[in-house]
Symmetry: C2
Subunit: 378 residues, 2 copies
């Protein structure tokens, strides 16, 4: 278990044991997992190589015993370092058969007559060619159904080791945000600020920066997913940077707003209102409250009911529950979530603020360095 970023072996043993208890309850013979987060959840297999979509990777979690990795041979040395011993490889990519025969054999071997559970619900996808999935079904003779939501339920509750990771990367981003006055000022193009902010995150200890979004304008920003353009920051703009940085395989996801020189009172008031909304969300964020309750509480403060005002967070930038009108998920200790209220400033434009917290018995613990009501100025 010497993969950088891996947890102590007990972490993976506990996850496996919880999964197998749920599988027994649901009558599932084996789980078939194919995405980065799913495979890493049970193994600690951490690599940026998933950026290459050319090769499928599979993990089979049996009803009893250790997981079986069915992976491209290029991954065998790293997978062996995770402590997994049953590692079956093929020379991928292989146009003749990209691992389906090997995978069918592994599934038949461990699942007996049980059904194969595949994550199929909200926020999932199957990371393998559909034609290969059809081939696998035909050649294995096994029954494939959904995983009864087991993976989503397990991953929603973070261990203390996971929470410590998220706390650590939140601190990294907090230090980088504190240095934004070094890189942003009126006259600097936003795309330059984006490059420099990623540099600050790396300097402060991020392993990599999978996500950065933001915007700038006199009335806030209309859109928080666009890439940065070459427009220069202007006095009176509010500039927002929202990062998903990673350290040890776990994400933070929070943002900060900055005043570029003096900004109108309406903008300062909007920022203070966003912080009030976060406080309202935070004070409700206790076991037993529902995701939709936090949505209502924050929307009541800002007057903006649209979209979702937060989400789960962990090995992915977003995962699990949504703080939205339609999500009745009940909060439990160990859930790490974002509070992300939005406020409108003009037609199609506004501001967003985001913090990261973990649900505890009693009051939630704040993981990101909670912002004050006064917007920092650059």
């Amino acid at each position: 278990m010497d993969v950088p970023g891996a947890f102590a072996p007990g972490e993976y043993a506990a996850r496996l044991s919880r999964a197998q208890a749920e599988m027994a309850r649901a009558g599932i013979g084996a789980l078939l997992l194919s995405t980065e987060a799913e495979v890493r959840y049970f193994t600690g297999f951490l690599t940026r190589f998933w950026e290459s979509p050319s090769r499928p990777w599979y993990l089979v979690v049996p009803a009893q015993g250790a997981p079986v990795a069915v992976i491209p041979e290029i991954g065998a040395p790293l997978m062996a370092r995770t402590g997994l011993t049953d590692i079956r490889t093929w020379p991928a990519p292989d146009p003749a058969d990209d691992g389906t025969a090997l995978l069918a054999e592994a599934l038949r071997e461990v699942a007996g007559r049980g059904q194969i559970g595949v994550p199929m619900g909200p926020e999932t996808h199957l990371r393998m060619p559909l034609a290969d999935f059809e081939r696998l079904k035909a050649r294995s003779g096994l029954r494939f159904g959904d995983d009864a939501g087991i993976m989503a339920a397990l991953r929603a509750i973070k261990s203390e080791a996971e929470i410590a990771r998220i706390r650590e990367v939140c601190a990294v981003a907090g230090r980088a945000f504190a240095r934004v006055p070094e890189i942003a000022a009126a006259g600097v193009p936003l795309d330059q600020v984006f490059r420099d902010f990623q540099r600050l995150l790396l300097e402060e200890g991020a392993d990599w920066v999978p996500y950065l979004a933001g915007g700038a304008g006199p009335d806030g920003y209309g859109d928080v997913i666009s890439p940065a353009g070459a427009r220069r920051l202007a006095a009176g703009d509010v500039m927002m940077l929202d990062t998903g940085a990673v350290r040890g395989g776990y994400f933070c996801d929070f943002d900060r707003n900055f005043a570029v020189g003096p900004v109108p009172d309406a903008v300062r008031r909007a920022h203070a209102c966003l912080m009030d909304a976060c406080e309202a969300g935070l004070s409700l964020a206790q076991p037993g409250a529902r995701a939709c309750d936090l949505f209502e509480a924050m929307a009541a403060v800002t007057g903006a009911r649209a979209g979702r005002l937060g989400h789960g967070l962990g090995m992915q930038l977003t995962e699990g529950l949504s703080l939205s009108e339609g999500d009745p998920t009940v909060l439990e200790p160990g859930m790490v979530i974002t509070l992300e209220p939005w406020i409108a400033l003009s037609a199609g434009s506004g501001m967003v603020h985001e913090e990261n917290i973990v649900i505890r018995e009693g009051a939630a613990e704040v993981l990101s360095p909670w912002a004050g009501s006064d917007m920092p100025e650059v």
Copy 2:
């Protein structure tokens, strides 16, 4: 069409027209696309928001007429900036129905009685929950089959505008590699080098750095996909950094090896041999040669036949053909590929070198700054 990174509208019109000609030939009524590269290919929709796996995004390419976007409402402003006019949104994520009713309607509307083509072949995946795909099939009443390889074939041949992008990001990485002596030396932990090299890439103009791999050791490295550990570089090591940096939505993918102080002659000879192998690949890389021919030519120089010794490159770090024993793909002008020979130095350890080229009528054009036989020293 004011999305940062978007091409001139003619680029997208030409892509659409080529796709529709192929669709007519294959009898496909509409393409259903769901991944970042597929959606961006026809629209220029460039955002890092795909890092969030919570929401599905769909593009419907009809047999005639303009594409239809069926996307989460959070993406509507950016999609509108691409020039697409038929944009249908829902408030995702919606646990009751995450866009399948809207998507079924759009598909029925444009496809008539035609089959829906979905990329299902090698290197693809469907980026939507499987349960939603089943729901879509049931509720649309349409027939879904594969896309007859249309997307893969179209994307394999790059336009001059695309090639210019890749040339530009290769130059960015070339400048960053030239500065590695600033950040690497005996005593520096490899994970610190990784952080600093990403910083150099950003300083030299990368928009972001989705991929960085590497390794270091006296006999090379056994594994080129592991995250960097805290081991300090030692005199006599060879250190390799392999980056997939992005600018304007296109990747470079090449590496460089560095000698940490004086290294054994065997290592220097291995590096020179890798460059000879790249030369052998380059001289064969002309229209009509097959991917497997380049594999054989490079493997004959290094004596290492394992794995794949190069691949296609573009909007993804890896895409399209493999320079491997089993890939008979015939090279055509406009294909951008990597040459990536491997050489063994000891049991389970060796070195890899990688360059990026584009196939032209006659000799290929080199896109990465071709390395010399002498390994640079830090």
